[in-house]
Symmetry: C2
Subunit: 504 residues, 2 copies
Amino acid sequence: MDGSHWLSMHPLVEKLTENGHDVVVVIPESSLTMEVNFHMKNIDHYTVRTYHGSYSKDFMQNLIKESIKHVFTHKTLLQNMKISYETIINTTNFVTSTCENLLKNETLIKDLETSNFDAMLSDPIFPCGEIIAEHLSIPSIFFLRRGAPFGMEQEASKSPSPPSYVPRIFTTYTDHMNLSQRVKNVLLSLFDFVFCHMLYSPYTRMASEFLKRDVTAVDLFSRASIWLLRYDFVFEFARPTMPNMVFIGGINCVNRKPLFQDFEKLVNSSGEHGFVVFSLGSMVSEIPMDKAMDIAEAFRSIPQTVIWRYTGKVPSNLGSNTHLVKWLPQNDLLAHPKARAFITHAGSHGIYEGICNAVPMVMLPLFGDQMDNAKRIESRGAGVTLNVLDMTPEDLINALDSVINKPSYKENIQRLSALHLDRPIHPLDLAVHWVEFVMRHKGAPHLRPAAHDLNWIQYHSLDVFAFLLAVLVTTFFISFKCCTYTCRRCCGRKSRPKSKSKKE
Amino acid sequence: MDGSHWLSMHPLVEKLTENGHDVVVVIPESSLTMEVNFHMKNIDHYTVRTYHGSYSKDFMQNLIKESIKHVFTHKTLLQNMKISYETIINTTNFVTSTCENLLKNETLIKDLETSNFDAMLSDPIFPCGEIIAEHLSIPSIFFLRRGAPFGMEQEASKSPSPPSYVPRIFTTYTDHMNLSQRVKNVLLSLFDFVFCHMLYSPYTRMASEFLKRDVTAVDLFSRASIWLLRYDFVFEFARPTMPNMVFIGGINCVNRKPLFQDFEKLVNSSGEHGFVVFSLGSMVSEIPMDKAMDIAEAFRSIPQTVIWRYTGKVPSNLGSNTHLVKWLPQNDLLAHPKARAFITHAGSHGIYEGICNAVPMVMLPLFGDQMDNAKRIESRGAGVTLNVLDMTPEDLINALDSVINKPSYKENIQRLSALHLDRPIHPLDLAVHWVEFVMRHKGAPHLRPAAHDLNWIQYHSLDVFAFLLAVLVTTFFISFKCCTYTCRRCCGRKSRPKSKSKKE
């Protein structure tokens, strides 16, 4: 995987190397985020094997910049749809050709073949790794945010997902939906299913070519021995799960270190009002100047110190309480007792860090599942969501005032935090256990539901219902025929004398 | 709860008292099994409150004796159905009147009201405890073998249970069923549902009377904060679960003590062939003499020492290698390296002890879910099932020879054992954690699915489909009307000139 998806897998890989396992990380030369490279290049506990990713670093950085520009621009519905479509096409082309390059890299593939691996750990959002795992005949452990991507859910994990109370991605619905929302949710389930099959069709082609036999994307998704899901029910809504799903939400909160000296100094000087942490995630460190000025304006008028991750041009109206930094130790800052609020883009990593450290949030969701995440935290009363496009400085001031000064927000996030942290085993240890379990036992076949061996008709017992219906109809038909025959005989006997008498 | 259901809850209650909790155990004066009393009376870590159970100890012992007599008697299908019906009526009357006595015991209820409990731990197979938990407004933890009893499953826990691969209780099917089995499984699901509602209707009445408002059995079953399920997927088949289900299969294997001196002497003297453990569970310690003679006959001709829990008259053909004992430390004996085979009635406790200690089994299922349990172990290749009514001494000798001398049985049970014991946390610690979790947080509402707030039609999105169908039909109807109207207009216009010309 790539981008921020690597961030939460990283502590697990680290821990596995600590436990004495040899880990080989396979990534393209140019990666989606700087962080990924940062994490990769500074650590030599594991082997990193790179391959030529078909796109240059400059191209990638431009791609990200363009996406961010779009996020901060007012658009009509038509423009929005056009951009969404282009983004999907671009992303699909980009990841598909990257995967193609990996599969065509004979030296690397030969190397992997001879390495005798025990298991493959991957985020299957794009199932390129799965093609190789299938080629190497090794069991897979999936490491991902939700269940299977989009509509693959039921097919890939066989985990039922009733649309009546399991809101679909990008809907921002909660688990309590009214009829109109449930109608949209059902329609989206159908759309998701079709969309997902289209999105993953290139993998069907690549897998079939590479493995020299027919393989579908669903085949790739359903070969997981264990699904390590960054999912915790204080944040996500309760829903059916499967025995091979392991919930490790909050795994990224593990990396706690003492604050660097400059940050320590900054937070200690924040006085009785404490400080606010502001970051829009690993991919967004610059925003348009007018938006930056609005935000700086808001920060000027609050009594808290603000630590803002921002690499763009300094806004001219920046207050003396606002400190711009190129990078910040987010989890360590949020863990500080003087942290009063967390302004976040509502990426799942940030949300979990907010929950772990019980810091109420002001959320400025930008793209992807961030709107859903924000809605979930808002529905729990632990944060306020703002529309980054429309918000005024006053909106931001009011939102910060609410989460900092209204006790309900702090109480709610503390309640969520207490529930989240009250677990029998730390998510990192749990993840390590299950990776090692798969390595020790060459998979976890006893956790794989037999539903994988049924087709769609059998799974839903449609053949059974058809059979029962046929029996019912046949019984009814025979009974009806018997009745009419008997009636006719009876009536016939009665009526015969009449006809006789007529003849007579 | 009562009978053997208490046996596996006992270590949990013990552990809770060790952790400093005050536990009050409420039981009827006469209990279904001697073991229950044995466990109760010898331990004073917790308070035991008894109430008059409306049936005497003699009545109970007779009830058990009668049931066992039936098990060992050849019967026609009609007789079988008659006895099953009588057993259900007797058991229902017995447990209902016991519950009624508890609810009418004003002194005890007043005492419970003033005790300020944090939580209620109960086996909801008969949901009397739940009526009191509801009365006391305290959260519940269910401790049970499977999910909700019979057809209550989906309603009570909202855990989907597709009949296409989740075999129903008493079917002895595996998770791979052919069409005919799936038809029966679907029909049984429907029957279970109706049967279960009938079986629990007395509780609806009692709960409504006691709580002075309308309460259904499903209401009682669905109030569980946590379901502690004695369920492990090396033994049970993988199927959908819910976030508030915690799997603690094998919790009863925890109580391991050094062998008493006489048993130690016995097993050490068993020589190179080792020994066989034979018990038909806590409720069956006597069997008819002809059956006992058959079994003794088989044991005479095997080279192993046999330790047989048996309190009946000594069979005259008892071999010198067979030792009859009134009670045996089953788990400790199975843990001994010289244990070669375990002859069991396939109760779930025994099965888990067989798995924990990797001892292959010969199973003689008698009643209840024991046929299902035996089928599961047999389908895993870790044991042989015999029909206790029809088996000859040769059958038993052959079965023992297979499980002891064919390597596959030992290999399979060792594989199951390795998978079962490879867990991140011991089931007892897991159970304690979740009981204390419920006590600390006054329940676990975040793990409760929103499906509980939907009715049957909403849950299955039937209203959504009806709405979509209505929209579709209306659209089709309007389109059709528009088309016919347009056609008529067009044809009308075309035909008018014709008629004009005709007129002309």
